[in-house]
């Protein structure tokens, strides 16, 4: 299945895009997405070591399952205020 991931800030600049699509096999989790993104986009590899995922607008851990209809975002270093 195909997961589209929204990207922001320094990560969007590193990837040269504000979204990325990744194909995953079988039951996917944020952890498997993290691994797949590392291969798909070496520019994001450093951030993928520590950045958080949000699934449907909430922070998720690597065990969180994701499906094609979920909204997924990679949240790197934020900078509000």
């Amino acid at each position: 299945m195909r997961i589209e991931i929204r990207i922001f800030g320094a990560e969007a600049r590193a990837a040269g895009a504000d979204a990325l699509a990744v194909d995953l096999d079988g039951p996917a989790t944020c952890g498997s997405l993290r691994e797949a993104m590392r291969e798909r986009s070496p520019a994001l590899a450093p951030a993928l070591g520590w950045a958080r995922f949000a699934v449907n607008g909430r922070y998720a851990d690597d065990e969180t399952e994701i499906g094609e209809t979920d909204e997924v975002a990679l949240i790197g270093l934020v900078g509000g205020g």
């Binding site: 929204r6 800030g9 320094a10 975002a73 949240i75 934020v78 509000g80």
Partner: protein, 131 residues
């Protein structure tokens, strides 16, 4: 305090407008307004503006949840958050947190805690705009 919600959050385009009126009911004791103003040297060199991007509605929801948890933890009465999205020039206000509380100490502690946690957890980004 009867006239206002305990927590209010708004994310709006460009520099923030005037501060909210102080709650006029109930005589809150302490009313503290913090404004973050764009500095001319943010981000390691002279800039003319910052451009803010918020991941919405997550940013809005996170600000509201953070507001509620800080309100409960510090026992303040009401907490209003305003944040800009888009372009905010140097000297203009991009963030405002207003807290009403019975006493000063908890209002200041709540303000500090809210801003620390916001800067860590709320999905808003800023990018310097150079002249």
């Amino acid at each position: 305090m009867a006239t206002m919600d305990a927590i209010s959050v708004s994310i709006t385009d460009g520099p923030l407008g005037e501060p909210p009126a102080r709650p006029d009911k109930g005589a809150c004791g302490a009313w503290v307004v913090f404004e973050g103003v764009v500095r001319g040297d943010e981000g390691g060199g002279p800039i003319v503006a910052l451009r803010y991007t918020a991941y919405e509605p997550m940013a809005q929801n996170q600000l509201a949840e953070l507001g509620e948890s800080v309100r409960a933890e510090f026992g303040v009465d009401c907490l209003m958050v305003e944040h800009s999205r888009g372009l905010v020039p140097v000297g203009a206000c991009s963030f405002r947190l207003s807290i009403a509380s019975g006493h000063r100490k908890e209002a200041l502690a709540a303000m500090d805690a809210f801003i620390d946690r916001m800067k860590k957890d709320v999905p808003i980004w800023k990018e310097p705009v150079r002249g």
